[in-house]
């Protein structure tokens, strides 16, 4: 009988370790939010294998959970970030300025998501900022829970909690897939203030 329990115990431990490691490595554990990826551009992380049959099984599982129905890289590339330029996690309690210039793509956008990978529950109609609002030159927008007073663009973080941002480039220019760091001048995100206190 004792021998049976030993075998059973080892079997359960093996299954537990195998299952937990798979869930952890593929981003399937509750609380894991990163689509992540090996490519880093100005603090934004991406993986051009998204949507591709060549994606590793770990990344495919991660994308199924965090970015289902993402397009393959010839049509769109995706980057995410969870922190500002100083490395502090995004929170709706703070105000940020996101800024950039012309992007090497036919169209681009930056969208804010909550911890559950969904659009936050607010009715501000300001959950993203895109190329059509930015024009051809340098641009900036405020990320805050209340509409800013100036004429600057706005991404509402109301009800966003500890949010993250996704940066999409649709129909990337030639060379982006080969040299993303050199080609993409990804947006900067500067923390301006938190709860009325300067950052």
């Amino acid at each position: 009988m004792k021998r049976l329990f030993i075998w059973l115990g080892f079997a359960l431990i093996g299954i537990g370790i195998g299952a937990y490691s798979a869930l952890a490595m593929s981003g399937l554990l509750p609380g894991d939010r990163r689509t992540g990826g090996p490519i880093e551009v100005n603090g934004w992380h991406g993986d051009f294998a998204m949507g591709s049959a060549e994606a590793s099984p770990y990344f495919r599982a991660r994308i199924a959970r965090h970015g289902l129905l993402a397009l393959a890289n010839t049509e769109a590339v995706y980057f995410t970030r969870l922190t500002d330029d100083s490395g502090r996690a995004f929170t709706e309690d703070c105000t940020y300025r996101i800024s950039g210039a012309k992007m090497p793509a036919r169209w681009w956008s930056v969208t804010l998501y909550n911890e559950s990978n969904f659009l936050p529950s607010n009715t501000d109609d300001a959950l993203s900022f895109d190329a059509s609002r930015a024009g051809d030159g340098p641009w900036s927008a405020i990320i805050s829970p209340q509409r800013p007073s100036g004429a600057e663009g706005w991404i509402s973080s109301k009800a966003g909690g500890d949010f993250d941002l996704t940066f999409r480039l649709y129909v990337p220019d030639d060379g982006v897939l080969e040299s993303p760091v050199e080609m993409i001048n990804a947006p900067r995100v500067e923390r301006l203030e938190c709860g009325g206190d300067p950052a």
Binding site: W7, F10, G14, L23, G51, I63, A64, W107, F118, S121
Partner: protein, 176 residues
Amino acid sequence: MRSTFAPLTLAALLGAAAHFGILHYAPTFIMDRAYTMLGQRGTPLHGFNLAPRMTAETQSVVRPSPDLAYSACRFDLSSAPNGVRVAMGQFSGYSSLSFFDAQTNNFRTIRGNVEAQETVLLRPAGGTPYAPVTEAEDVTHSPSQKGIILIRRLAPTEEEYVAAAKAAQGDECRAL
């Protein structure tokens, strides 16, 4: 030492099986849930459904873009043995017609390029003979029987969404 070698080997084997089993089946499981959920929210089998403008209340799949108008069609080639005709209506802005298999792979995308686009979706190569299609017709082979087809149209404003909705009237997803 000797007495624990065999149970340790069993633990390692079962651990590896659990690890790779989860990796293999997780995308299929998640895609199947999305397939079912889209059906419950009004996306028919072999028919496009234009989603309302993406907001917190209307989103049904993770990380939707509020700047895009989405039309989705679910396909099941086991109930469409002659294939599925898929067409994307002409749209003046950015648009794409993308195909996703049961493993979540985006196995083909056709860009709109301000023109209507059309293809015939067929079962994986090597199956039973396909219904004849004319040589002029574009053909897409699906790696799996079931999957999701998605049309994206750039529509960051209400006005552009209305234009996208008008273009979506030319979409077609029909079992042959």
